[in-house]
């Protein structure tokens, strides 16, 4: 039974969490001459997780969802922000101070084939957490506890499974064993990192069913990390959509799916392959790919790919470089060569700056470049990029382009969800 206090305090309260991986020590980085920088895997994330809830963290690779899960379990070190478990601050505790908390939160990994120690049989592997925390007196008690856990996850008769090694089990069975190991300490919070994405379709349902059953029987709270919106829709009460280390939209599952607000959410939903033969391949997908997390785009990190971006979204020099690339990819070779010669060293515009300097090619002037830019604009005036350009002036051998001021949107309320997007001017910031 929960006390009133427990009902009010969220089980997990994350504020402004950041996890940056510094590149400084990387030998490889130094070898290729890259500056010291850091991968901003998690870049300011805040949310609350209430008892008994299932919160989905949905995103593609590079979104930071896995790192976020690992940071909460202190498998990666937070570089800033706070994590409160039932009101107690745990983000910056020392490892030994944190160790008792580990009993209350566990993790299930993505690859069932790599999550079990190949050198341990199931009895030892599933029982090891109990041994580590000194919770069993003797072998007999261990067998009882492990047997109970294996029974719960459907690996029965348990006697047969005690001696099995991971290589004797199928993918689904391995994932069940991993779940058994995760629940045996009696945790309150279970972080599930893509628990079914490496399993066959017909096995996924079994494991998800099992997870739901465990949730009810053991009063668990889940943080469900996935890239698969379909399973998230089925499994989660609330969903947070992540992009490049930030939450861009968060709200109740039903609202997110019924009325997705952030353009990224919209495109994710449209791109889900659906076994409905009347659907065709979606065409208007966001262009490009998830950008580099070392130097994320200025302003809103989604703006280079967003079909609905406009002036405030934070335009920069690199967007101009992308513009050229897109244009030239679709051109015939001869035309490409001709236009390419007009512009000089492209490296000068590959910078994260709010003003661009476009050099002219050999034998060309700034005027030529300006003309090219005007041609490009005329060809497709609806391109969002142009709404961010304030002014273009030719100066001798280059063109100066200035952009409108951009701003990084923070999460703000829009209906019963929160969105980080300038299209939604909520009443207050979250």
């Amino acid at each position: 039974m929960r006390t009133k206090r427990e009902e009010d305090t969220p089980l997990l309260d994350v504020r402004d969490l950041t996890t940056h991986f510094s590149l400084r020590g990387s030998f490889g980085g130094r070898l290729i001459g890259r500056d010291a920088g850091s991968v901003k895997a998690v870049d300011g994330v805040s949310f609350q997780l209430h008892h008994g809830e299932v919160l989905g963290l949905v995103g593609e690779s590079g979104s930071g969802k896995t790192t976020l899960g690992r940071t909460i379990l202190r498998l990666a070190d937070a570089t800033g922000g706070s994590i409160r478990l039932d009101g107690e601050e745990i983000a910056h505790l020392s490892e030994s101070a944190f160790r008792p908390y580990r009993r209350r939160m566990q993790i299930v990994f993505q690859d069932p084939h790599a999550s079990l120690n190949p050198a341990m049989d199931l009895l030892t592997a599933v029982g090891h957490p109990l041994v580590i925390h000194g919770l069993v007196k003797d072998k007999a008690a261990l067998r009882v506890a492990v047997g109970d856990a294996l029974e719960r996850v459907g690996l029965a008769p348990v006697e047969r499974f005690f001696d099995k090694y991971p290589s004797d089990l199928s993918g689904g069975q391995k994932q069940r064993a991993v779940l058994a190991r995760a629940i045996i300490l009696g945790p309150e919070l279970l972080v599930a990192d893509e628990p079914v994405s490496m399993l066959d379709m017909s096995v996924r349902a079994k494991i998800l069913e099992l997870m739901l059953k465990l949730k009810d029987e053991l009063d668990l709270t889940y943080l469900y990390i996935t890239h698969d919106l379909a399973t998230a829709k089925f499994f989660c009460d609330r969903i947070a959509i992540m992009y490049l280390g930030r939450i861009v939209e968060i709200g109740p599952t039903a609202s997110i799916f019924a009325d997705p607000k952030h353009p990224y959410t919209v495109s994710l939903l449209r791109a889900i392959p659906d076994p409905d033969p009347d659907r065709t391949v979606p065409r208007d997908l966001p262009r490009g790919e998830v950008p580099d997390a070392v130097q994320p785009p200025l302003g809103c990190s989604f703006h280079p790919r967003c079909p609905r971006a406009f002036g405030r979204c934070g335009w920069e020099s690199r967007d101009l470089a992308d513009l050229f690339e897109r244009r030239w990819t679709a051109m015939a070779e001869a035309d490409y060569e001709h236009e390419r010669a007009t512009v000089g060293d492209l490296a000068r515009i590959e910078a994260a700056t709010t003003a661009a300097t476009v050099p002219a090619g050999r034998g060309r002037t700034g005027e030529d470049v300006l003309e090219l830019l005007a041609t490009i604009r005329d060809a497709d005036a609806a391109e969002p990029f142009w709404s961010g350009v304030r002014e273009m002036t030719a100066n001798g051998d280059h063109v100066d382009v200035t952009f409108t001021d951009g701003e990084d949107p923070s999460l703000r309320a829009a209906g019963d969800v929160e969105v980080a997007c300038h299209l939604y001017e909520g009443a207050t910031s979250a």
Binding site: R70, L73, D111, N117, P129, D163
Partner: protein, 348 residues
């Protein structure tokens, strides 16, 4: 997925294993799991291992029972009655391998030499693994400055020609420990520490990011527990192979040390390398038995150890292990277009 095509480790009949008591079952199961690849190996790799094992065991037995087997003591140059042996006598009934320039029996020296060799090698294996393994484990698992420092250090040691290195160490140690088995063993062991360090460290690095190691951290296991039960147990398979190959190399290094005069003093123990060095001058005089037999002994033991090591590698290393492939017999087809085969062909 892949498990469909892999050999099930053990056992061949689950029923008989089920009959055993649980503890026995598990211990037996683990042993049989390790031994299983040997069962599967057929032909060359298996033969190689057995031949190598045979030779090595023969030498080990020789070493253990040296006092019983050898006709004389290793430094005995006269009979019990005090009659001095004839020096440089050709092989004869009393001296099956002849005598050398010091009037000692070659056969006995070869036999006692094997004791020396085995002692030195075992001791040096023990020491170098005892230093190299834990260092590699800790260095690989923790990374960071410690790892970088140790790596530079170990790489520097590896860059040194091993024989020269051994000579230097032997020379330095001889001041404290004299010129016996201990000095030689320590000198050799230091030379091989970097090898164990590297092999273990690299393997540790490759598995340290695996999910099951992270899961161990998530459980709350302490670093030493993780290193011991999650990392070391999975890394240890390569070590016996490296150990046998190092042992072979160690024999050669010991002999070389003895040959060059930096090894074991003749008064301390019999040593093949030293004997060969003394036999150089005999060769010109047509005295072949003083050099041949110690030399043969070296060659045989080194070959035996190498065969064991390489053979084990072929058998155990999953990357190059060749599974025994039964030639597949496809039963003939029935007619043409999309017709199913008869449902009951026999299994191969």
């Amino acid at each position: 997925m892949a498990s469909q095509l892999e050999t099930p480790p053990v056992p061949s009949s689950p029923q008989e294993l089920d009959d055993l008591a649980p503890m026995q079952r598990r211990r037996l199961g683990a042993l049989r799991r390790m031994w299983a690849p040997m069962h599967d190996a057929k032909g060359m790799p298996k033969a190689i291992v057995w031949v190598g094992i045979g030779i090595t065991v023969a030498f080990i037995l020789m070493a253990i029972f040296a006092t019983q087997i050898a006709p004389y003591a290793f430094d005995q140059y006269k009979t019990a009655e005090g009659v001095r042996f004839i020096k440089q006598q050709a092989p004869s009934a009393q001296h099956l391998f002849g005598t050398n320039v010091m009037s000692t029996d070659v056969l006995s020296r070869v036999i006692f030499g094997s004791r020396t060799a085995i002692e030195v090698v075992l001791l040096s294996l023990f020491v170098s693994m005892g230093i190299g393994l834990p260092l590699g484990l800790i260095s690989g698992y923790h990374g960071g400055k410690l790892d970088r420092t140790l790596l530079v250090f170990m790489d520097a040691m590896l860059a040194f020609p091993s024989l020269l290195f051994a000579i230097v160490i032997a020379f330095l140690l001889s001041k404290t420990f004299g010129h016996g088995v201990v000095t030689a063993a320590l000198a050799i062991s230091i030379v091989y520490v970097p090898q164990y360090f590297r092999v273990v460290r690299n393997h540790v690095i490759s598995i340290r990011e695996e999910s099951y190691v992270e899961a161990a951290r998530a459980m709350g296991a302490r670093p030493w527990t993780i290193m011991r039960r999650y990392v070391l147990q999975n890394v240890i398979q390569n070590v016996p192979i490296i150990a046998t190959l190092n042992a072979a190399d160690a024999i050669l290094t010991l002999a070389a040390l003895g040959f060059l005069g930096y090894g074991i003093q003749p008064t301390e123990a019999a040593e093949w390398g030293y004997d060969i060095q003394r036999a150089i001058s005999d060769a010109g005089a047509g005295i072949w038995w003083t050099g041949l037999f110690p030399g043969l002994a070296i060659v045989l033991l080194v070959t035996g150890l190498t065969l064991v090591g390489e053979g084990l590698n072929d058998v155990l290393n999953p990357v190059i292990r060749k599974r025994p492939i039964e030639p597949v017999e496809l039963p003939p087809r029935e007619g043409a277009e999309a017709e199913p085969e008869p449902g009951d062909e026999d299994q191969t």
